[in-house]
């Protein structure tokens, strides 16, 4: 009797677990599909506004200052350390192969093609993406976005378009800036155990760099910028009600934009590979 009872209980339990799983799966799919729909709607709204409304130039400049200028200290430090670390790590291996003279150009290639854009984009996803998510989220929660709307101002045009355009244009510039600091860091790194003048270092570093190393990096940096701007604004602009949703918006802005940056990078590398070969 007891055994039978216990069996039937586990059976019931397992079937109920199954149905719960199915339920969870179906709600997951539902929210995923809904998310895609909302994102598409948001994107079309932003694009439509971008081409149909007057551009808010003053706010755009303010955002450029915030996104570009305010990120310089952080990127100086990160860039410098990136170059330094790359150099210190690769030096022993290159010495083993007797190819230490290739060190500058190896670091330059990896920084310009991949590390510079990637690290800059990830840092900006953290700094700028979370900033946008939190700022727009708190504006939404405290009804500031509604207040804008009743003052005859299209919040998508004033808040979102300016931020997305600013991020799209500023990230490539920041990538250049970080690249330069990485090369400086690499030169410093080469001088810890060796002795190489800056002129010699630069000529060695750039001897193998062509325009085709720069171009894909610049193009993908524009995409990184727009992804960071769009995700940050989307998350902030669509924050829920209540202050807790501000934190959620900021957090998910960072997570989603970092992930998308990596995915965009993967796609960009594949495309570059196909075209250049």
């Amino acid at each position: 009797m007891i055994k039978k009872d216990s069996i039937s209980k586990t059976e019931i339990l397992s079937t109920s677990c199954k149905s719960e799983k199915i339920n969870i799966n179906s709600t997951l799919i539902r929210t995923f599909l809904l998310d895609i729909a909302y994102v598409t709607l948001f994107l079309t709204k932003v694009l439509k506004t971008m081409f149909s409304s007057n551009f808010e130039f003053k706010e755009f400049l303010r955002q450029c200052y915030k996104i570009g200028y305010k990120s310089l200290p952080l990127l100086s430090v990160t860039g410098l350390i990136l170059g330094l670390v790359l150099t210190i790590q690769s030096r022993p291996i290159l010495i083993d192969f007797g190819a230490v003279s290739l060190l500058p150009s190896m670091v330059a290639t990896s920084v310009i093609r991949e590390m510079g854009p990637m690290i800059t984009a990830l840092i900006c996803a953290g700094k700028i993406g979370s900033g946008m998510g939190a700022e727009l989220g708190s504006m939404k929660v405290s009804e500031q976005i509604d207040a804008m709307e009743v003052s005859s101002t299209n919040p998508i045009n004033f808040l979102v378009v300016t931020r997305v355009v600013a991020a799209t244009l500023m990230i490539p510039l920041l990538v250049f800036y970080a690249d330069a600091f990485s090369m400086l860091g690499s030169w410093l790194g080469s001088n810890i155990k060796g002795d190489i003048s800056f002129v010699l270092f630069s000529s060695q570093a750039f001897s193998h760099i062509t325009f085709l190393d720069f171009l894909p990096a610049i193009i993908k940096s524009f995409f990184f910028g727009s992804v960071i701007g769009l995700v940050g604004c989307y998350k902030g602009y669509n924050a829920g009600r209540g202050t807790a949703s501000v934190g959620v918006a900021a957090n998910s802005a960072v997570v989603v934009s970092s992930l998308l940056v990596i995915i965009v990078d993967l796609i960009a590398v594949q495309i570059t590979d196909l075209i250049v070969l």
Binding site: S142, E143, Q144, D146, A147, M148, E149, S151, T153
Partner: protein, 260 residues
């Protein structure tokens, strides 16, 4: 339902020279998913009057005014402002109409990345495009003086107390000379003295700018001080409508409970 609903004609209103209908809401419905917030709301706002809308917290008062200014879309029903159905207007026409409506947000909604001065200039620059710098600064000073906060010009909203923020927000709303004022809980969260000041301010604005106002509140003191007419919401419908004297002497238990 609607036991005590009275049909008040404009002549019975306390201010004698009101007659024209400025704003009319007819059978308004609004739900969020399966939550029916507004079931069937109809009322009129007459020229020059202060109409107080009372109701418990969560009864949909904020939703109602947001539907009026078009921040939320109603499910059905009609809103007419100055005789024009707002659903029949295109975006540009609706924007023009909206410039005549001032909306004081429940939370104040000051832009917290801007100073008080920039906050006040924002609607002036955007809604009345042809103002000169001098006119803008004159207007900013005038409205700040009206709300008694002349020294706050260069402060950030975070440096102001809740009551001061409400008053700056009020100043920002009246800066563009609205014809209809919608106050969403102007006195909530303020001490009795400041609440009283805000109520006085509302009456002064009514007199000075000749506005017709809807005042949403659950603060009975503010309601009695500012109202020409009172509407009570309950369960998403208009439960009671009367002038102030009738309201005070009502023996309905729900209304009486508001006084305690």
């Amino acid at each position: 339902m609607n036991l005590k609903l009275k049909n008040i004609k404009s002549e019975t209103l306390s201010s004698s020279n009101v007659h024209e209908i400025i704003l009319e809401v007819n059978h308004l419905k609004k739900s969020f998913r399966d939550q029916e917030v507004l079931k069937d709301i109809s009322f009129k706002l007459f020229e020059g009057e202060n109409l107080v809308i009372l109701g418990k917290s969560g009864s949909g008062k904020s939703v109602l005014v947001k539907c009026i200014v078009g921040l939320l879309k109603s499910d059905s029903g009609a809103i007419s402002i100055f005789g024009k159905k707002s659903s029949s207007l295109n975006a540009k026409e609706f924007n023009e109409l909206r410039q005549k409506i001032g909306f004081l947000f429940q939370s104040g909604a000051l832009y917290d990345s801007m100073t008080v001065k920039e906050n006040l200039e924002f609607p002036l620059r955007r809604m009345i495009k042809k103002l000169t710098e001098n006119e803008i600064s004159d207007k900013v000073n005038e409205v700040l003086e009206n709300v008694g906060l002349k020294d706050a010009l260069y402060k950030m909203p975070a440096q102001l107390s809740g009551g001061m923020q409400k008053r700056i927000s009020l100043a920002r709303t009246i800066a563009v000379d609205p014809i209809i004022m919608l106050y969403d809980e102007p006195t909530t969260g303020l001490d009795p003295i400041t609440s009283d000041e805000i109520s006085t301010l509302i009456n002064e604005i009514q007199k000075k700018y000749k506005t017709s106002s809807i005042i949403i509140t659950h603060d009975i003191k503010c309601a009695l001080k500012t109202a020409n007419r009172i509407i009570m919401l309950k369960d998403g419908e208009v439960y009671y409508e009367a002038n102030v004297a009738d309201f005070v002497h009502s023996d309905d238990s729900f209304i009486k409970s508001f006084f305690n």
